[in-house]
């Protein structure tokens, strides 16, 4: 019963964080890493972090668009 509970708990978080858009999970890890790397380069951080998030969103939705088109 404990194992089943743990499995359901793990599955919930897997679906929640990764689910059918694993690219967002990976991009979030990249954003976190970049935030630490650029913490002393504020001007770069201010530009790079939102661009990475927007880029991921555009690519992810663009992929769906291309699939629908073909």
């Amino acid at each position: 019963m404990i194992r089943r509970g743990l499995r359901s708990f793990g599955r919930f978080w897997w679906d929640f964080l990764v689910g059918d858009t694993p690219e967002f999970f990976l991009v979030t890890l990249v954003v976190v890493a970049l935030a630490f790397l650029l913490r002393s380069e504020r001007a770069w951080g201010v530009v790079v972090l939102p661009v990475v998030v927007l880029g991921a969103l555009v690519l992810s939705t663009w992929r769906v668009r291309q699939k629908k088109k073909s």
Binding site: F24, A35, V58, T61
Partner: protein, 244 residues
């Protein structure tokens, strides 16, 4: 009131509104076909369980986890969640994904509930289960948003009150019109919440990592602006042209 408080209220209130409208559809379907008493008991029980979860998880997070680590973790969580919401909203507004249809979901739920044996007593397990499941599943995401936004800014009370206000509003309107709320502009709300979650997520990841944004809290508004403009452009740019 700080800028981050205003954005927090809007994000939590908007997210709760969207999720509770979806939950209300299932509660009304269960109530109308199987009896209101069990449906309302199911919905109230789920809301109570979620409230206990928020308190049980949120308070220890605030007291025992170092604030910077909490902000990076919560920011990451909000980013994943926010990008998911924005992606869906972009796909729906550009016609690449069907709009969420509350009327259709209501009809399907009612049809499947009518196939079940009619309730024998005033307490009906099926109505209770459908309403509980509807509120609990839709509410889990809200609980996560409340805990993460509330804990990272040490405003758990404010986040919980914002969510509760949305629940009360949806319940009152639902009770008043006695049906599901299909006319709520769900996709527009989803876009707004997605913008808020991405903005907050990015802000907290940066703050937690030690990258201090210019203007502090006010910089959240810059992110809100950037993601809003991108959302407006995406709806048009992603649209697939209909061939003649």
């Amino acid at each position: 009131m700080r800028t981050s408080d205003v954005v927090l209220i809007l994000a939590v209130f908007g997210a709760s509104l969207v999720e509770m409208v979806e939950a209300l559809t299932l509660v009304v379907a269960a109530g109308a076909t199987r009896g209101w008493r069990s449906a309302l008991e199911g919905a109230a029980s789920a809301a109570l369980v979620l409230a206990v979860l928020i308190v049980a998880v949120g308070i220890p997070l605030i007291h025992y986890v170092p604030i910077d680590a909490l902000r990076v973790a919560v920011g990451g969580l909000l980013l994943v969640l926010g990008m998911g919401w924005l992606r869906k909203a972009w796909l729906r507004s550009s016609g690449l994904k069907a709009m969420h249809d509350e009327d259709l979901i209501y009809e399907e739920t009612v049809s499947s509930l009518r196939l079940e044996a009619p309730p024998k007593t005033s307490r009906d397990a099926v109505a209770f289960a459908i309403a509980f499941k509807g509120v609990f599943l839709e509410g889990t995401e809200v609980a996560l948003i409340v805990v993460s936004l509330g804990a990272s800014s040490h405003r758990l009370g404010l986040a919980a009150v914002s969510a509760a206000a949305a629940v009360v509003l949806v319940s009152l309107v639902g009770a008043f019109v006695a049906r599901q709320l299909s006319s709520v502009p769900e996709n527009a709300l989803k876009s707004v919440v997605g913008v808020m979650l991405c903005s907050f997520g990015l802000f907290w990841v940066g703050e937690g990592a030690g990258l201090h944004w210019p203007g502090s809290d006010l910089f959240i508004l810059v992110f809100v602006g950037v993601f809003s403009i991108a959302t407006l452009i995406a709806g048009k740019a992603l649209r697939v042209p209909v061939s003649a």
